[in-house]
């Protein structure tokens, strides 16, 4: 895996040097058996036991079982967290048997468990490359290098982000603080899905395309899988105050962010496009809600009500909503494409990025005040 990682980072650093810095190098990428995966990803004992039972049931099952499949697919998949880095479950035997029982989900099972028993070595390399790019460098970059991501990382590291991890927190403190902020944290988490997932998909698909032919062949099927087939956001509306107020454009969590960053990259051409897309992503996520780490865990500068209102009150400006920021930045940039391109040529942006007079930053500041 190391040569593949080195090859990937060499290409990423060319687009943005921070992809190669120490914080990114420290992120682990591990391929784990399902049992090891549960230990890392679901450390809370009750949740861990639940998924160990699920896994045991999956290993025993000999019939079509849609209910069990719907527990396996979303919960055993490549994932990133600041606590344990990037992890991918690996079990070709289990994935193959389940693919025989559920032929229509063969592709999902292959992607979730990296390979099937009859997969060729190229398939495995393609999937590992895709997950290195998506999980380690896409999500890893978001949590390490964006202002919004670093605040979410504080919450993740202290078990404030996922409801099922509440049992890991001490009573009465910090569990009571988590409970007071639960609704605001949930809105913040949902507001970041489209930019975080869209960026991870953009990193994956763009840089996969630059790899050797055997790996680059993954681009089309992965794009179809992520952009056209993935579903999640519409079903989230019922339980998300954020998405009830600001409805997602598409059901795929990857589609809007990916397509916008991809269009910006295309609009600004080979010399500048990737660099501009990364600057747009950094601007969209340049949000402070005053969350920082203190000696006893996360500290909040805003009250729960202030934080929630900044996110879900439509009367408030879009400053705190990364997906709305991306939408508005995208509109401004695509409408003023010719002006930005001529400035880029004049400033010779390909030599250093961001240029002190970066036309992308200047336009966003002038039009949107960010």
């Amino acid at each position: 895996m190391e040569p593949l990682d080195a090859e990937i980072v060499r290409r990423l650093v060319y687009a943005y040097p921070a992809f190669g810095d120490e914080s990114m190098r420290q992120i682990l990428f591990r391929v784990l058996s399902p049992e090891e995966y549960i230990k890392e990803v679901y450390p809370a004992p009750i949740i861990g036991d639940h998924f160990r039972d699920t896994l045991a049931a999956a290993r025993r099952e000999t019939q079509f079982n849609l209910r069990l499949l719907n527990k396996i697919l979303p919960n055993f998949a490549p994932i990133y967290s600041v606590c344990y880095g990037a992890c991918a479950p690996f079990d070709p035997e289990l994935a193959s048997r389940w693919a025989q029982l559920h032929p229509t989900e063969k592709e999902s099972l292959l992607y979730n468990f990296i390979q099937l028993e009859d997969s060729d070595p190229a398939t495995t390399r393609r999937n590992v490359a895709a997950y290195l790019l998506h999980e380690k460098y896409g999500h890893g970059f978001f949590f390490a290098h964006t202002r919004l991501g670093r605040q979410l990382a504080v919450l993740d590291r202290h078990y404030f982000l996922r409801n099922e991890e509440e049992g890991m927190l001490g009573v009465p403190y910090p569990r009571s603080i988590r409970q007071r902020y639960a609704e605001a944290i949930r809105a913040l988490d949902h507001s970041a899905i489209i930019v975080n997932e869209g960026f991870a998909a953009w990193v994956e698909l763009n840089f996969l395309a630059q790899m050797e032919g055997e790996i680059a062949a993954a681009v089309h099927p992965r794009k179809v899988f992520l952009v056209e087939q993935a579903t999640r956001l519409y079903s989230l509306i019922a339980e998300s105050r954020y998405f009830q107020e600001f409805r997602p454009l598409f059901d795929s969590p990857y589609q809007e962010g990916y397509e916008k960053l991809e269009a910006i990259q295309r609009a600004f051409g080979d010399s500048y496009g990737k660099k501009c897309a990364i600057q747009v992503f950094l601007k969209a996520t340049d949000i402070s809600l005053g969350i920082k780490v203190g000696p006893d865990g996360p500290e909040f500068s805003l009250s729960p009500e202030e934080m929630l209102n900044a996110l879900i009150d439509p009367e408030q400006p879009d400053d705190a909503r990364s997906d709305r920021r991306l939408r508005r930045i995208f509109n401004v940039l695509t409408y003023n494409r010719d002006h930005v391109r001529s400035e880029q040529r004049h400033l010779q942006c390909h030599r250093s990025c961001p240029h002190p007079a970066c036309p992308v930053h200047a336009l966003i500041a002038a039009e949107l005040g960010w």
Binding site: R247, L249, E259, K260, E262, A263
Partner: protein, 84 residues
């Protein structure tokens, strides 16, 4: 200035014409084909629950190059579908 209703009507008319041309070339709503994509766009636009969301969809497709920006110039009386 176009109303959102007029903008949506123009987009639907353009999509219908372009979809017909794409179907003539592709023969079916084949996987990954332009006709299938256009058909999906129209459904997504027509089922969007608010005008605000319809506007955001149109902005997205104009910006990503799926819809021609000129289509929404308010002085345009007849839209021609682009070459497929």
């Amino acid at each position: 200035m176009l109303t959102m209703r007029e903008a949506v009507q123009r987009a639907i008319r353009w999509v219908d014409q372009t979809e017909d041309q794409a179907l003539l070339i592709e023969g079916s709503y084949a996987d990954g084909g332009r006709a299938r994509r256009l058909h999906w766009m129209k459904n997504t636009l027509l089922t969007a629950p608010t005008e605000g969301l319809q506007g955001d969809l149109l902005d997205h497709w104009i910006g990503t190059g799926l819809l021609p920006r000129d289509l929404f110039k308010s002085d345009l009386s007849e839209e021609q579908p682009e070459e497929v």
